[in-house]
Symmetry: C2
Subunit: 238 residues, 2 copies
């Protein structure tokens, strides 16, 4: 009987924004796995650091080293090999917990491992706090109220598509804003929503940056996980 | 010096989906406050039940009794009175923690209290797992990958507006589906997305209901917090 493959969200960065369930699963896992960069660094593992201090003895690790590149075929090869390693551990009846920044199924790498493993193994997913909810909390502004509509789009979309979202929806979160900052600012201006916009990076971490006046944002690239949160200044409360 | 007013998300229903931070704040609060129905019942307090067992001695409570009605003026009067009671506690230098189902700033009542209190008091918000992320985890299906766009709309919108969202976006979550079930099913048929749709209620609770074939859903109203999650069956992974 194979062990369980469990994706757990560790939240957006504040180590205390891990759920009780995620903490329990992480501490009792036979194997933990996570995405690591070329130098072996894993942000998800850093976030779970305090929880991991109380983990069971002899916990093994399967780091999934992902090179920084946009070639999907290379990424798919990495996922194939990782899925195989994880499958071996599951076949030995080990529980494998995969650590995910934010929420496992919201723009995360976990989805690609899950689709490779879920056909032949029992899986579980423990949701995590996404950066979207963490952003609203950091701003202390409602993400949505009453009949407002709320859309999440990738900053990688065209300026035209970003404008369309900004014109059609009350609340708009633009993820992965890193290298698209200028395009996003242009879309905000064109849709007349610059004053509604907030910018955030590294929410809840020591190097957190928040701009509530996006006009002050320097004209340069930001980190990959930076995001814009656009909320109506005047909200319809009827 | 006034105390802090702190909104904390307790997640969608599973008592273990409370964050470590929320648990700490709840246990150390001088006063806890929450929305209660006419009979005094509070779902948020039920979810936090196990955490509350280890709360400080002499913790006080401010229940905010909200009648079931759609008249905003009545709701606003309740919020006014609650804000006044909470303000009194804050003036006595007490920390008041407001328990919120799901995430505090995502379609929640907390927003209305926050806007009444934040001008004159230090406030904090601890994000919670929203039903949207919990739904994807329960389904074990990605909410969004790569360049997919993702929209959240209220089931109270017109069929036309629901159709528009279903036609324009890859992933669509329709909240507050309770009494709008038939309208939503019609919009799913009209936009040719019935096969993409999943239906969930009471996620992570004992009475959880999930339909992955929405065609089997009885033609009747559901609970207020039921939701539809519409995800492309064939996803663009390029």
């Amino acid at each position: 009987m194979p062990g369980d493959f469990i994706g757990v969200g560790v939240g957006p960065g504040d180590p205390e924004l891990i759920t009780l369930k995620a903490a329990r699963y992480i501490q009792n896992a036979d194997v933990i796995s996570y995405i690591a960069s070329g130098n072996g660094r894993s942000q998800a593992k850093v976030i779970a650091g305090a929880v991991l201090k109380d983990a069971v003895a002899n916990q093994r690790e399967i780091p999934v080293v992902m090179p920084m590149c946009e070639d999907r075929s290379i990424a798919n090869k990495v996922y194939d090999e990782a899925a195989e390693q994880i499958q071996q551990a599951l076949n030995e009846d080990k529980t494998v917990v995969f650590l995910c920044e934010g929420d496992p199924l919201f723009f995360g790498s976990f989805s690609y491992l899950l689709e490779r493993i879920q056909e032949n193994n029992p899986c579980q997913v423990v949701p995590g706090i996404s950066s979207v909810n963490a952003a609203a909390s950091a701003l202390q502004l409602p993400l949505t109220i009453l009949k407002e509509s709320f859309v999440v789009v990738s900053g990688r979309h065209t300026e035209e598509k970003l404008c369309e979202a900004l014109l059609q929806h009350d609340s708009v979160v633009i993820m992965k804003a890193g290298r698209s900052r200028q395009k996003i600012v242009n879309a905000l201006k064109q849709s007349n929503r610059l004053a509604d916009a907030n910018y955030l990076e590294y929410i809840g971490r020591e190097n957190e940056v928040i701009y509530q006046d996006v006009d002050q944002l320097p004209d340069e690239s930001g980190p990959y996980f930076s995001l814009f949160v656009v909320l109506r200044n005047e909200r319809d409360q009827s």
